[in-house]
């Protein structure tokens, strides 16, 4: 019964990882770049929420209403005027710039905040749980999971049904031809950057409520998002969510067997997928 509870926790944790991974997956799908600053910006969002809740004693949920637009605007500007310059057949420039940004953000946080663990709180909801027989399910992780389903559902609808989504899919298939059709990829890239950073803000704050964080937590968040994308299979949003759930279950069930080995077991499951199922669960072909 303990294992079942751990597995359910893992699935719910997968919702949180899925939120992180969706932005990474979207950016790669559209621009073929990987933003290594992703985790650092999630942590930055959590610190922004912390600053807002401390100065105005507002709830972190209310803070999201400010932080998400701010981060999305930042993502737009960053993509349009900085990362746009790094789009190149070679992956080198984009990796260098985003990795450099991660170093800058992490150390700026270390400089201005303490290196201690911090945590956001929703008050009583943090510890509330639903009792189903012998299984306890946390209300907050469940809420995050539902939020992840809703947000990914909306994103998926946007990509399938809207004009913007059509451009995104077209660019993902063949950016050169899309440009011939009179669509400016730069704008699509910038809006994708804004969406990804909005998602990162939500994920960063959500994760800051679920577990404690410090200025250096970003690299682990980036790694989890990446593992979810690869396990799920590059190029599929829902695959990414499934990959995130696999990773979450691997970590929580692993921890039930061997406490304190949760990270290592998660990484090993990822490496096994890489070894035996390099195209991930959804098995879409990757393009070099």
């Amino acid at each position: 019964m303990n294992i079942l509870e751990a597995a359910i926790q893992g699935v719910l944790l997968g919702g949180l990882y899925g939120l992180f991974a969706a932005g990474l997956s979207l950016i790669f799908g559209v621009m073929r770049i990987v933003n290594l600053g992703y985790g650092a910006f999630a942590v930055l969002s959590a610190y922004l929420a912390l600053a807002l809740t401390r100065s105005t004693s507002m709830s972190p949920l209310l803070a999201l209403l400010i932080i998400v637009p701010v981060m999305a605007a930042f993502g737009f500007v960053l993509q349009r005027w900085v990362l746009q310059r790094t789009l190149d057949p070679s992956p080198l420039p984009s990796i260098l710039v985003t990795f450099g940004l991660a170093v800058i953000v992490e150390n700026a946080l270390l400089l201005t905040q303490s290196a201690d663990q911090e945590r956001l709180t929703l008050g009583r909801i943090d510890t509330q749980a639903i009792q189903l027989g012998e299984i306890r399910i946390g209300v907050y992780p469940l809420a995050v999971f539902v939020l992840a389903l809703v947000l990914l559902g909306v994103l998926s609808l946007v990509i399938q049904k809207t004009g913007f989504g059509r451009s995104v899919r077209a660019i993902s298939d063949d950016p050169g031809t899309v440009e011939l059709m009179g669509i400016k990829p730069k704008r699509i890239y910038a809006w994708s950057g804004a969406i990804a950073f909005g998602l990162v803000a939500v994920a960063g704050v959500a994760s800051g409520i679920q577990s404690s964080f410090n200025p250096s937590s970003g690299s682990l968040l980036l790694i989890f998002a990446f593992e979810a994308v690869i396990i799920g299979g590059i190029g599929s949003l829902w695959g990414t969510l499934v990959g995130a759930m696999v990773l979450g279950v691997a970590q929580t069930v692993g921890a039930a067997f061997a406490p304190s080995q949760q990270l290592l077991i998660g990484h090993i499951v990822f490496l096994l997928f890489l070894l035996f199922l390099p195209r991930g669960l959804t098995g879409k072909a990757t393009r070099a």
């Binding site: 080198l92 450099g100 690869i230 390099p278």
Partner: protein
């Protein structure tokens, strides 16, 4: 009145240019001259210069990966860590001579890199970068849980204790100097070779290289293994000079950040660039390291600025975009008439 002689060649193709005819002997002379330095200057400077040579070694290896092999790794700390642990375990626990343990550690790292390549090469571009990072995290997590490896607190190196402190530092200096020189020589020979030509073709356009008969995977794997061995030697040197191995320090992703900084600022895809970048980085560290996070922010800003606005790096500017070379790696074509 001059008469055209059709048999005479119109152009002359040479390896050696006036610059490399002076530059190569000068570089060799500087390296040889540095051997005498421990007799001349203070211990603290000599100790700090060990780091300079380790930086040159690391930067050259990362440049080989990214600048010639087109592989951007942020996981080279895996080999630094394994090299450092291998040296201490070999010298203290197995009883191998500490100097012999350095090449053995390099071989271990080469084998490890060969194995890892089969995992990491399934990923491309930015995903390859994070993939190498995950693998180094796995090695770190294993190291901090192994009681034989001192768990979280790491290991101390006792094999160097027979030497007096001065001699120990001097030995570290000579070893690091020799390894840095070997790394640069390896890069020069590799780039000059037919294999290096194929490698640059892979970096510029792997599909075109493959259709021209270059075995792309093999070429990349070879470079990945060399870079792993070189980074392993750097780890072994770190253990020899600092006399201990701390898992969170040797497996820190900061090493990758430093390597990237040195190569990007110096000039990626050149032999001279990483050396220049390492020297600059070393001076910056000497001047600014006390400022902690602020120093890293400055490094980050400079690195991003170079990646955005000055992709060829400082050496690219100095060498007038690749037309000057200290080492005879390319071919120089001069018009005779």
């Amino acid at each position: 009145m001059t008469v055209d002689t059709p048999s005479a060649p119109i152009t002359r193709v040479r390896r050696w240019t006036p610059v490399s005819l002076i530059g190569t002997p000068a570089t060799v002379a500087v390296a040889v001259g540095l051997v005498g330095l421990p007799y001349l200057i203070g211990l603290a400077t000599i100790y700090s210069m060990i780091d300079l040579f380790i930086f040159i070694l690391l930067a050259s290896m990362w440049n080989l990966l990214a600048g010639y092999g087109g592989m951007v790794s942020v996981g080279q700390q895996a080999y630094i860590g394994v090299g450092a642990y291998a040296l201490v375990v070999l010298a203290d626990q197995v009883g191998v001579n500490v100097f012999l343990a350095i090449p053995v550690a390099a071989v271990i790292c080469a084998l490890l890199a060969f194995g890892i390549s089969f995992l990491a090469f399934r990923l491309i571009g930015g995903y390859f970068a994070i993939g190498t990072w995950v693998i180094s995290e796995v090695l770190r997590l294993v190291a901090i849980q192994a009681p034989q490896l001192g768990a979280g607190s790491g290991l101390s190196l006792f094999a160097m204790s027979p030497f007096s402190r001065d001699l120990r530092v001097a030995i570290g200096f000579w070893l690091a100097l020799a390894c840095a020189a070997l790394a640069v020589l390896t890069c020069v020979l590799l780039v000059r070779s037919r294999f290096g030509l194929g490698l640059m073709a892979v970096r510029d356009d792997s599909t075109a290289a493959a259709t021209s008969g270059v075995d792309v995977q093999r070429a990349k794997r070879f470079v990945f293994v060399i870079a792993g061995a070189g980074s392993g030697i750097a780890g072994a040197l770190i253990a020899v000079s600092s006399l201990n191995v701390q898992p969170d320090s040797v497996f820190s992703v900061q090493w990758s950040a430093f390597m990237i900084f040195m190569v990007v600022v110096g000039g990626v895809g050149t032999i001279e660039g990483p050396i220049l970048g390492a020297i600059l980085f070393w001076f910056m560290r000497e001047a600014l390291a006390d400022y902690g996070p602020l120093y890293l922010i400055v490094l980050g800003i400079i690195g991003v600025a170079f990646a955005l606005f000055l992709r060829e790096g400082i050496w690219g500017l100095l060498s007038r975009r690749g037309r000057l070379s200290l080492f005879p790696t390319g071919y120089s074509v001069t018009r005779l008439r």
